[in-house]
Subunit: 211 residues, 2 copies
DNA sequence: AGAGATTTGTGATTTTTTTCACGAAGTAGG
DNA sequence: CCTACTTCGTGAAAAAAATCACAAATCTCT
């Protein structure tokens, strides 16, 4: 009954990184890892690694570090890696079809179960293991209550509409590739992938460096 | 000679967002915008909008807001939008080719000028306006000193090698899609797009909600 | 078993980022 | 020109995040 200190956002967003590197170490046959080593792998300081992990309990061993298997299981637990997560993707264009073809998601427990498009030329096509359906059938996802995550890869003008629709049908997490801030109900989490934004960050750096 | 207060990282990363929404407003024929309105469009508070912009001077008008054209020009200046930025992409696979085909970058002054791959099946192919070259010719980019930005879309095992190579040839900004933390020299900026990470963030949220 | 080295876990501190809150400046309408 | 309203710019305060630094725990070696 002591599990209730709130986890800072910043910490939560790094768990995935820890798990990735821990898994890599495990694959290489390691069985112990120190906060210094894990810090090097993740690009963080050792202190930050320790502090982050300490939010979830004490499972390191002074003088020797963290047991890889144990740490992996804790992180897997936190991240819900024993579940399979079902995803719907809307917009099977350039980016959308690249995502559909990527086998890596499935290996990590993320299955894109449905894909929708508005374009007759896309509908019926099969990418990876998914056949693209007509977006007018999108309420299909309501029947399958297991789909809580949507990936939106439609053009910017349609993104808000699509977001409203999928949230109506039970989606509460949205990964949005369109360059627009989606207005969603409370309780819905949106993460934006904004590639132009990233590039403009570079041009800002390059421009101010010249100053 | 007073231009020297340091701009916080967090502020810099939002400039692009402001410019995007300001440009949208301009397209719609607007000529003034308040911090409240801009806050709504960007998903930020009005106070934050004002504070962010205030790092660059005072160009709002009390009682009426910001002049869109003026604000746009300031942001364009800061972000170096009067330059054309040249980019090299390495790895013309799923994601890489989706990026090559995207016309949006060019419209925003980002030109993917060269693309390289190691696979004979990819070499010689043309995506968008770029023809994929053999990665063994990658030092071509050294001749073209205008290329400072690289997009890395190779498999995880090659990413570190590619990063080392491109930085040797003058790249100082890297947009990395591979799920690995790149070790680069000081002075090189890396931004990671880690889609599995984003999805795991969702599964963390969904898992802890159930808790 | 003891000495010396390593590494954790965490309060305290510092830094960074966001929010608050209000005076000053400007607008609008008579 | 006066009153009522709007909106900016910004110090001050609060909140969030990162870093420091060290006691305590454990390990290794002899
Ligand atoms: N491709 C990139 O490299 C890239 C880079 C940055 C941003 N983006 C953004 O990502 C989004 C997708 O880009 P893209 O290049 O894949 O575009 P795209 O045009 O190739 O694909 C968009 C797909 O969405 C479909 N669509 C349109 N309206 C729809 C609707 N209402 N319901 C369902 N499907 C609909 C279209 O038929 C098309 O297949 C865009 O918002 C774009 O701005 C893409
Ligand atoms: N596609 C996705 O949706 C997705 C999602 C998450 C992460 N990623 C990551 O993005 C990266 C690319 O993914 P993808 O799906 O496009 O992979 P992909 O296999 O389709 O493409 C990779 C390309 O890189 C080329 N390549 C390999 N080694 C190279 C080298 N040394 N130099 C030059 N080219 C080389 C390959 O020939 C191939 O064309 C991977 O690291 C992947 O983990 C992709």
């Amino acid at each position: 009954m002591q599990e209730k200190k709130k986890i800072p956002k910043s910490v939560a967003s790094r768990l995935s990184l820890y798990l990735r590197e821990i898994s890599r170490l495990e694959d290489e046959g390691g069985d112990k890892v120190s906060s210094v080593e894990l810090g090097e792998l993740t690009g963080l300081t050792d202190a930050q690694v320790r502090k982050d992990l300490s939010y979830f309990g004490q499972f390191g061993t002074s003088g020797s570090g963290y047991e890889i298997l144990k740490l992996k299981n804790i992180l897997r637990d936190l991240l819900g890696k024993d579940n399979i997560w079902h995803i719907v993707l809307i917009g099977a264009g350039n980016i959308g079809s690249a995502l559909l073809r990527y086998p890596g998601f499935k290996n990590q427990g993320f299955i894109i179960k449905e894909a929708f498009d508005i374009d007759q030329k896309k509908i019926g096509k099969c990418y990876g293991e998914v056949t693209v359906k007509d977006v007018r059938q999108i309420n299909d996802i309501e029947k399958d209550r297991s789909i809580k995550i949507a990936i939106i890869t439609v053009p910017v003008d349609s993104a808000q509409d699509v977001a409203e629709e999928v949230t109506r049908y039970g989606i509460i997490c949205i990964l949005n590739f369109s360059p627009v801030i989606l207005k969603v109900d409370e309780g819905v989490t949106v993460r934006n992938i904004d590639l132009s934004n990233e590039l403009e960050n570079f041009s800002f750096i390059l421009t101010s460096a010249k100053g």
